[in-house]
Every structure is written in structure tokens, then in C-alpha cells.
Symmetry: C2
Subunit: 323 residues, 2 copies
Amino acid sequence: MTREAGGRRAIGLDIGGTKVAGAIVADDGTVTAECRRDTPETSDSATMTSLLLEMVDDLRGRDDGVEAIGVGAAGTVEWPAGRIRWAPNNSYRDWNVRAELEKATGLPAVIDNDANVAGLAEARLGEERYDQMILVTVGTGIGTGIVLDGRIYRGPNGLGAEAGHMNVNPDGPQCGCGNYGCLEALASGTALTRMGRSAAAGDPDGMIASLARESGAEVTGQIVTMAAMAGDSTAASLFARLGRALGIGIASLNAIFELEAMVIGGGLVDAGDLLLEPTRRAAREFAYAPTARPIPPILPATYGGDAGKIGAALLALEDAGTL
Amino acid sequence: MTREAGGRRAIGLDIGGTKVAGAIVADDGTVTAECRRDTPETSDSATMTSLLLEMVDDLRGRDDGVEAIGVGAAGTVEWPAGRIRWAPNNSYRDWNVRAELEKATGLPAVIDNDANVAGLAEARLGEERYDQMILVTVGTGIGTGIVLDGRIYRGPNGLGAEAGHMNVNPDGPQCGCGNYGCLEALASGTALTRMGRSAAAGDPDGMIASLARESGAEVTGQIVTMAAMAGDSTAASLFARLGRALGIGIASLNAIFELEAMVIGGGLVDAGDLLLEPTRRAAREFAYAPTARPIPPILPATYGGDAGKIGAALLALEDAGTL
């Protein structure tokens, strides 16, 4: 990718459960500067506002031509007000992010759900351009960025596009949101950790338990991924279960939307075909009317963990100051 | 409702599994003429085209001022081409409805999925006007009409909006579409028939079995509904199971879309609170983030079985001749 000198630029910030990623991004998606902080243990609104303002100052110190700020954040974000009502894995509540950033920086700002902005980046700047696509981010939780007719679908107040909390089995395990059997409860990194701990308890001599002991820590999704990539059949079977749930959810989303592609992002997609192969198999098995309706390709994300900050900046360049 | 003499009028036709309903409808939703035929046992494309043309001739004979024809049909309908690719409960396949009607009648025509056009009628002309609403028709199958920003959502080629085939339990019973555990497999009239037959087999002296014997026929969803309305606790428990599945599906749809209302139509809504009460309870139980996101009201349809032909005519008045 190349960028003309003087191309429009915005700051993109992506607030996750463990880190906040920031960048200056040009309108063609080029990242020209970056910074990164750990998400504080106490992720309340005041602490988080200070952290974001520090990052904005840092980035503006390296480029005085940024026009706007875009933020992607986990949780339910009112659009276009830019107030985060609630987040399952962060402690901020009723955080008026947009107003606080605009007041302190003098720049126009947009705030949206993290998966929404990542979906925008993948749809616009991924391997292919898609007008009708869903990005499913499979990390600690499951976020979905729904792009219809080339634009982010959010619902009338920004509270929609939470397909990670569609129910895929009402008798399934409890989700971080409190419900039982959400897609997130069955197909996220948290689900992989839960299944890995259960497998390690049942087979203390197995590879999952052994890798955890060697690392001196509890079993996590990362440990299960390492075991699966090293050829452990138990770990691979957990990915098969997880991918099956994900594929069933994807089949439902394609029945509802009719999509050109489903893109899978988030940390777990690093497992590659261990995740994607069972996902694709289940999406085919549960496809509605496959003789009459195409089954969209299921593809790994182009930008991985960078999609959030890039999409947030893109959205800022499109919409900030116009809402 | 009143209509000015000379208001714009179109023919609306609604093709169901058992009957084809037709009407002349004015742009304010007033029905000025009606006709109705049984769906032939052999519902292939040629037979169905002849039937629709007879009905159009009949209706035009009563009003020579109709401008356009709208058709709602069960199945996957290409939009805007108006070709029906496939339907789970009718034998027409690759039926080029729009082209055949336009050629034979000289009128512009639109063809859309039956639940889509019914959803349009409910959103525009129901008790309240909604811009963000889903109509779920609970009949032999489950159809969904998704209205976003005041317009029918169909997917790019008209093959979306099939939320009746979202999966609500991968270990659930087989659906008419061939998959297992679709919402339709658990919450439709067909599901009620299946559950009723099982209940009658297990309790031949119970009210469900007795009512079927008295009527000289097998147990159907209608028999179960009669038993439930007469106070039979077994029949009521089947409605509770069915409503629970429906409410879980509705909770998922609200997580995905953020809706102002969910409207329930189709034959089973005649059971009233027997269906709606357990549906509402499950939609609350499985609502995502209910402290941060409103739970939309779940309401019975205003137009019932008339919504399809009215919505088809409304759509014709809006879009026919412009596609």
C-alpha cells in the first residue's frame, strides 16, 4: 500500500480487555505511527479517559495533521452519541467517550463497537472488497461486525450487531453475559479455556495438562492452541467442537443475511485450519437450502489484531464531525 | 380507514401452502375486492402461473384501474428478478413469476417472499408504524419479514431474511428443510403437530387424543390448539415448549438487530397468550444485556392472514415498474 504525502489521517484507538492499541492511519489504511498500552486493572471511565487522552497526545506529537479520532471499544456503544453503556469484560459503565474526547482534544470523534470498526476495515481494505459481509472476532469473547450495502449495521441506536450472543444451544454453558448457550459461550477463547481445563483435569498426563505445568500456569486457550498445533488429538478435538458451534452460528447468520463472505478474526484464528476446517464443515452441514442459496466462503481476517484501530480511524475519516 | 375515490390500487396475491389469497388493495391498505383459490395439489410452475392469471383476470374484471401486481410466495425468491428458486412446501422450482405475469397481463409486477411482504404491511399499516421490526409468521413453517429503516431487508439477491431456519438447537428435531434444530423445526405448526402426536400416543385417554378421535382425523396443530384453549394442561405445556423456542429465537434476533417490536403472525397466533406468554418469558430470560438494551415488545399481528396480500399490493405500488 502506498500513500500520497498529505493524505487524510485520523487516530484510531482500539480498547480491548487486555490492551489499548492506537495508531495514526491514512485514508487508504496505511498505518503511519503506533502506540500501545495495557488496559488498566481498574478500567473505569475516568481511568480510561485519561489513558486515551495520553495516547492521543503521544500520537499527535508525532503528526500534527490528524483530523479526527475514532475509537472501537468492546461493549454496547450508543451511536452516534458515542456513549458506552456497558461492557461484559470491562468495568466502564455509562462512559460518555465521544463528548470527553472532543472536549479535551478539540478534534471530532466517533465511538463504535470494536467488532463493528474491525468489520469495516476488513470489508473495505481486506483481500477483497465486500459489501455484504460479517466479521466474527473470536477472542476472549465473540464480537461481530456486520457490513450491509458497504456500511456498518448497528441498529437504530448502535445496540445491535451482537451476534456473539445469539443462542446456539439453550442448554449450553453459561456465558460471560449471564445467559446460557450464547455463541460466545461455546465458541470463544473463554470456551476453549473452559474445555481445556476440563480435558486437563480428566487426563493429567496429557499434552494440555503437561504444557500448562511446564508454563507454570493454569490451562488457557493459548495452551490448548499450542497443544493442538503440536499434534495433540485431544486439543484438536476441542477445536473441532468449538469450530462446529461457530459454523452453526455462521450458517444461521447466512440464512438471515445472505452474505458474500464470512471473515474470522480474533486471536483464535491464528490456529488456522484447526479452527477454520470444522467451522466450514458445520457451516455447510447446517446451510439452509444449499441447492438454492450459495454458501459464502469462510476466510481468515486480513488485518488480524490491527483491524480495530484501522477501522476506527477509517470511520473517523468518514463520519467524524458529520453526526 | 377511508380511501379517496381514485386512490392508487394494485392487485396483491399471497401464495401459501394451502390457499392463494388475492385482493385489490388501495395505497392506504384498504381492500376493495377479494378472491381466493385452493393451492392445487400439483403446485408446479405452469399450473401456478395459470391459477395466478385467472385470479388477476377475475380481479381486473371488477376494477379496471389497477396499476400493478404484487405477489408474496413461500420460498427463496430472487429480488428484483422475481424468480422463485425453491420452496420447502411447494413443488414449484425456478419459476420466473415476474416475467410470466408481466408478459401475460401487461402490468408491472413484483414478487417477494410472503413473510417479507406481510412484514411490510405490519410495519407500515399495523397498530403502530415501525421502522425496525421483524414479523415472525408461525404457521406450517416459520417465515420472517425483516424491516430495517422502514424497508424490507432481503439480502443482495433476495435470498436472506430466512430466520425461521436459524439454528436454535443442533441436537433438535429435523426440519422440513432437511436440517436439524431450525427455529421452524421447534416452533412452527409442524412442530406442534409432531409434539401433539407424541403426546397423544403417550396418553390415549387425554384430551388431545380424544379430540382427534372425535374429529375422525390424526392429531394436528389445530387439535392441540383446541385442547389448550379448552384448558388441557398437556396441550398448554406443548405451547409452553414451542413458545420457549420462539422466544429464544426472538432474543437472538434482537441481539443481532436491535428492534422496536417483534410481531407474531401466522395461524398459531390465534392461540393468543397460550403462545405469546411463554414466548415473552423466554425472550426476557435470554435477552442480551437487558440492563443496557431494551427488550422489544412481542405483539400479535394486526392483519393476520391478510397481511400477505396487502403487503404484496403495497410493495407493487411502491416498486413495480421501477426495478
